[in-house]
Subunit: 554 residues, 2 copies
C-alpha cells in the first residue's frame, strides 16, 4: 500500500511500535516549548467560532447562548462559540455515514492519517497549551507539556498499539492441509479488521487532551468514527483537536465527520443521550465514579472504558535519601494543586516514626519536615503559581476550605493563597496537610484537590494492609512506597500485585508518582475500581475492532 | 526460567506461536485415531466415580442421587458419579486460595503446565472420544476428532494466544530519559501479568470440550483458577478434563484446586449462583441466547464471553462445480445432524434459478438436486449413522417432527429414521429440507437441528441483503456463498464485513462451512449477536489478565 501520508509517517510508526515493546524512553514530540514558536496568548483564542459548519448544527454553544460558555480558572471568559446539534442522533448518523470508507482504508493508512493529525496538533502545541491552561487551570508550563506533547505521546501510543493489534493476523494467508496420498486441501484466507461502530469520547475537566487522546485515537485508528463530547468547562482543547482531525481527514480524502464535536448547553445531559444510542458501540470516559458507574450499568450496547476516582496511597517506612523523599513528595502534592487522578492523598507513616539517612524521625517530625519542604517549594508566589496552577472549580475550593477549618482532622499545614502574576482573579492555594493520629480510624475517602492526609499507622506492615484495602475498596491510580527494608519492599510489592495497582518505589529524584511516560509506563491497571482499563495495553485496543475472515479454495 | 515442563513443551509453544501468526495448517495432535491405541468402549467408563475428593464435596451428582445422571443419546445410562458441593461458595474459596502460587508462576510456566495437561488429555483421546460420543450423540469418528485432537488444538491455541499477550511487555525494562546537560533520569520498570480472579466455564451439551477448552485454557494460562460447570447432559468429558488438569497441577507442585468441577443436581441453578459470586471475574459460556443474555445482563462483576444462537445462511447464486457444491452442502447439512452452531440453516436461492457448469438449474431443480445429494450421501444406514450421529435431545427431535408435519413450510425432503449398528435405542434422523417459495416472507429464525430451509429470493442481490439482515438481527456463526460472479462476490464479501460474519466462498471440496481449523480460522467474530468473542484472537485473552508495573530508580 502506498500513500503520501504513509510515506511521511511510516518511520515514526515503526519507531513507536519498537518503543511499545522496549518500554525505554522515547517520544517524537519534544517536550520543551523551545522549537514550538512564541507562546500563544489567550486573546487570539477568545471569540473564536469553531466547527459551526458541522452537520446537524442548529445553533451555538457558548457566547450567545444562555450559559455564556467557558470561563478560565485564571479569570477571563473564553467566549469561544461551538456548534450545537439540536438532534444528537444527527451526529451519530453523520459519523456512521462516514464509517465505511474509513473501515475500508485499512490499519496502515488509518494509522498514517492519525499520525498526521497528531503532527498537526503537535505543531500547534503552544496554542493547545494556552487552551489547556485556560480550561483546566494548569500552570502554563504543565499545560503545554501535559496538554501538548505528553498528550500527543499518549495518542500516538494508542495509534501504534491499535495498529499492532490489528495486524497480528496477516491480511491474507495460505492454508495447506496434507491429506495423505491425496492432494492436500488448499485454502486462501483473508482477515479484515472491522470497526465496532460509532465511538464516544466523554472528556474531563482537568486533562481534556491527555485523558482524551488515548480513547479518541484508539477508536479512530481501529476504524470507528468518534463523537467528542467535551466537559462543558474544557471544550476548547478538544474543539481544536476536532478541528485538526477534520482538516486532515478531509485532505486525505475521507469524510471529516469521522470526528465530530458534540458540545452541549447546560442541563442537556448530552453524554447520557449519546451513550445510550444503539449505534454508539465504544465509550471512553474520564471523570466521576458516579457517572462512570452509570455508563457501565446503562450503556450496555457499548464497550465502556472508564477512568474514575480513586484514593492514592504513599507508604513511608524508611529511606536513605530523606531530603530527596521530602522534595519529591512535596512536588507531587503541589503539582497542579493535587488536581490529578494520580496525586497521592493518604500518606501512611508508622506512629513510631521512620528511619532515614538523617537519623530516626518521629511521626510528628516527619509532618513538620514535609510541611517545611512544601513551604520551601512554594515560598515564592511566582514560583508557586508556576507549579500549582489555579483551582479548577468551586468544589475543590470548598474542600480546601473544609480542611482549613479542621473539618477533616488536625490541620498541620494551612493552605495559603498565592497571587499569580498577570491573573489577579485566579484562585490559587498551596496544599493543606491534615494529620490523623488517633487510634486507626477509617481512612479518608477521595478528597480531590490539594488536601493530603498524614496518617499514623501502627506499623509498616499495617500500612501495607491499609494500602491494599484502599486499592481494593476505593480504587487507586497510583501507589508509592519508601522503604530500605527488603521485607517491607517485598510485602508492598506483593500487596500491589494482589490488589491491582502499579507501584513507584523510593522516588527521590525528578520522577514523580503522579506522572507516567507514554510508551513505557502504563497509566492505571484496570485491576481495581479506579479504572477498568489502562493506557495503553492490548486490552485497551483489542476489542475496539473485530476480525472477519473470508476463505476460499486456492 | 527453567523447569522440566518448560523444557518438555517450549518447542511446541514456540511452534504454536508461529502458527498463530502464519495461519497455515498446523497441529501437534494427529487427528487420525491411528496411534491413539484401541477404541475405548463405553463399559469401562460406566460406573466411574470421579473427583469425589474435591473440596466442598457433600455428596454425589449422578447415580445414587435423585436424577440418576447422564444418559447417552445412543441409549445407555452412563452411571458416572461426580462430586456435589453443598455450598458453591466453597468451590470459589478453594479456587481463590489456589490462585497466588499460580499467579506467581508466570506466563511461561503456566503455559508449560497447560501444555502438559493437553498432552495428557491427548494421550487419552480415545477415551475422550467415547465420552463425547455418549454425551453429545456425535458419531464415533467425529466425537474422537472434534472432542479430542481438534478440541485440544483450540485449547493449545488459547494457551499460545494467552502467552503471547502476557509477554507483549517485557518482564523488566530500563528507562533512560535524557536531561540535557544533567544526568539522565534512569528507572527500572517491572511488568507483571496478574490474573483477574476466579473464572467460570459453563459448558454446553453438544461440544463440551471443543467449546470448553478455549475459555478454560485461556483463563488458566492467564493465572485464573477455573470452575468448570458442565452441562448436566455432558458432564463426563469435562470431568475427565478436570481430572487430567488436577493431576498435572498437583504433580507440578500447584494446588489441584486451580481447576474444579462444579457439577449440579437437577434444578439447582448452579451456573447462576456461581456466575453472580463476587469473586467470579471471568465467565465463558456456550449455549442458549436466553441464558447468555442473562449472564451478560447480570454477571456484571465478571468479563463475560458468550457464544449464543444464530442463524447461518448460504447464498447460492452460481457455480462452476455443481456436483461439488451439492456434495459439500449435503455433507454440511448432515454432519452431526445439523446440531452444530455452525451448520447452515437458511439456503437463499434466486427464484429464477442458478447458473452451473451443468447448465441453468431452476429453484425447484436445485431443491431436487440437493435432496438427491442428501439421499446419495445418507442412503446406507451404517454410513449415514457414522455421519449423522444421534439426536442430542428431545427438543431437536420435536423440531424434526414439526418439519415432518409441514409446520415450517413445504416439506421437500422428509427426514428418515436411521438404524445404528449396536445402538438400537439411538434416535437418528436424516435432515429435513423445507421449501419457502412464496412472496418473500420473514426468514425462519433459529431452528437448531437437522432442518434446513430452501428459500426462494428475488435475486442474488436480495439474497445478499437478507443474509446481512439475518446476521445483524439474529446473529450467525458462519456464512457461505456460491457464486462465479465477481459482482455478487464483491457484494457478499462487503455485506459480511459490514454485518460482521466470516464467509466461506465456493466450498466444493473437503472443507465445510461448519468446520474451522485452530491456528488458522477464527470461530465466530464477536461482531454480531451470535457471539461476543472469537476463538481465538487477542481480544479473547487480553482482558483476562491485567498488568501491574513496579518502577524504581536504577
Amino acid at each position: 500500500m502506498s500513500h503520501e501520508l504513509i510515506d511521511r509517517h511510516q518511520a515514526t510508526l515503526d519507531r513507536a511500535l519498537a518503543a511499545l515493546a522496549d518500554r525505554d524512553y522515547w517520544s517524537p514530540y519534544p517536550e520543551s516549548p523551545r522549537g514550538y514558536g512564541e507562546p500563544v496568548a489567550l486573546e487570539p483564542l477568545q471569540g473564536l467560532e469553531l466547527l459551526l459548519d458541522q452537520p446537524g448544527t442548529d445553533g451555538r454553544v457558548g457566547p450567545g447562548s444562555a450559559d455564556g460558555g467557558e470561563r478560565s480558572p485564571y479569570g477571563p471568559e473564553l467566549a469561544v462559540a461551538y456548534p450545537h446539534a439540536g438532534d444528537p442522533a444527527a451526529l451519530v448518523a453523520a459519523a456512521r455515514a462516514a464509517q465505511p470508507d474509513w473501515a475500508a482504508a485499512g490499519p496502515l493508512l488509518r494509522a498514517a492519517v492519525c499520525l498526521e493529525i497528531l503532527a498537526r496538533i503537535n505543531a500547534r502545541s503552544a496554542e493547545f497549551g494556552t487552551a489547556v491552561m485556560h480550561t483546566t487551570g494548569q500552570a502554563p508550563g504543565m499545560a503545554f507539556q501535559a496538554g501538548g506533547p505528553h498528550a500527543q505521546d499518549r495518542g500516538l501510543e494508542a495509534v501504534a498499539c491499535a495498529y499492532a493489534e490489528q495486524t497480528r493476523l496477516p491480511a491474507s494467508a495460505e492454508w495447506t492441509k496434507p491429506q495423505g496420498k491425496r492432494d492436500p486441501l488448499k485454502m486462501v484466507k483473508e482477515f479484515t479488521a472491522v470497526p465496532r461502530g460509532v465511538a464516544l469520547l466523554i472528556g474531563c475537566n482537568t486533562f481534556p487532551t491527555w485523558n482524551g487522546y488515548p480513547g479518541l485515537f484508539a477508536s479512530l485508528a481501529t476504524g470507528n468514527p468518534v463523537l467528542v463530547k467535551p466537559h462543558p468547562r474544557a471544550v476548547l482543547p478538544l474543539a481544536l483537536t476536532v478541528s485538526a482531525a477534520r482538516e486532515v481527514l478531509a485532505e486525505a480524502g475521507f469524510s471529516p465527520d469521522l470526528v465530530l464535536l458534540a458540545a452541549e448547553r447546560p442541563g442537556e445531559g448530552l453524554a447520557k443521550t449519546l451513550a445510550l444510542h444503539p449505534q454508539v458501540r465504544v465509550i471512553d470516559y474520564t471523570g466521576s465514579t458516579e457517572f462512570g458507574d452509570w455508563l457501565e450499568d446503562n450503556a450496555r450496547q457499548a464497550l465502556v472504558y472508564t477512568e474514575k476516582a480513586g484514593v492514592n496511597t504513599v507508604l513511608v517506612d524508611s529511606t536513605d535519601d530523606y531530603a530527596g523523599l521530602l522534595a519529591n513528595l512535596a512536588f507531587s502534592l503541589a503539582l497542579y494543586s493535587g488536581q490529578m487522578c494520580t496525586t497521592p492523598q493518604n500518606l501512611l507513616v508508622p506512629r513510631e516514626g521512620i528511619g532515614t539517612d538523617q537519623g530516626h524521625r518521629s511521626f510528628r517530625e516527619f509532618v513538620a519536615d514535609l510541611s517545611a519542604a512544601l513551604d520551601r517549594l512554594l515560598g515564592d508566589d511566582a514560583r508557586a503559581a508556576a507549579l500549582l496552577g489555579a483551582i479548577v472549580n468551586p468544589g475543590v475550593l470548598g474542600r480546601i476550605e473544609q480542611a482549613e477549618k479542621g473539618e477533616f482532622g488536625e490541620l498541620a499545614l494551612a493552605p495559603r493563597p498565592v497571587a499569580v502574576p498577570d491573573w489577579p482573579d485566579a484562585v490559587v492555594r498551596t496544599p493543606a496537610l491534615v494529620v490523623l493520629d488517633g487510634a486507626e480510624a477509617t481512612l479518608p475517602g477521595e478528597c480531590f484537590g490539594p488536601v493530603a492526609f498524614l496518617v499514623a499507622v501502627d506499623s509498616a506492615a499495617r500500612g501495607v494492609e491499609l494500602l491494599a484495602e484502599t486499592v481494593r475498596e476505593r480504587g487507586a491510580m497510583t501507589a508509592s512506597a519508601y522503604t530500605t527494608s527488603p521485607e517491607v519492599e517485598h510485602a508492598v510489592v506483593a500487596a500491589c500485585l494482589d490488589a491491582g495497582v502499579s507501584l513507584s518505589l523510593n522516588l527521590t529524584g525528578q520522577v514523580y508518582v503522579n506522572q507516567t511516560a507514554a510508551f513505557s509506563d502504563l497509566h492505571g491497571t484496570g485491576a481495581n475500581p479506579a479504572a477498568n482499563s489502562a493506557y495503553c495495553d492490548a486490552a485497551f485496543v483489542a476489542s475496539r475492532f473485530r476480525t472477519i475472515e473470508v476463505r476460499r479454495h486456492s
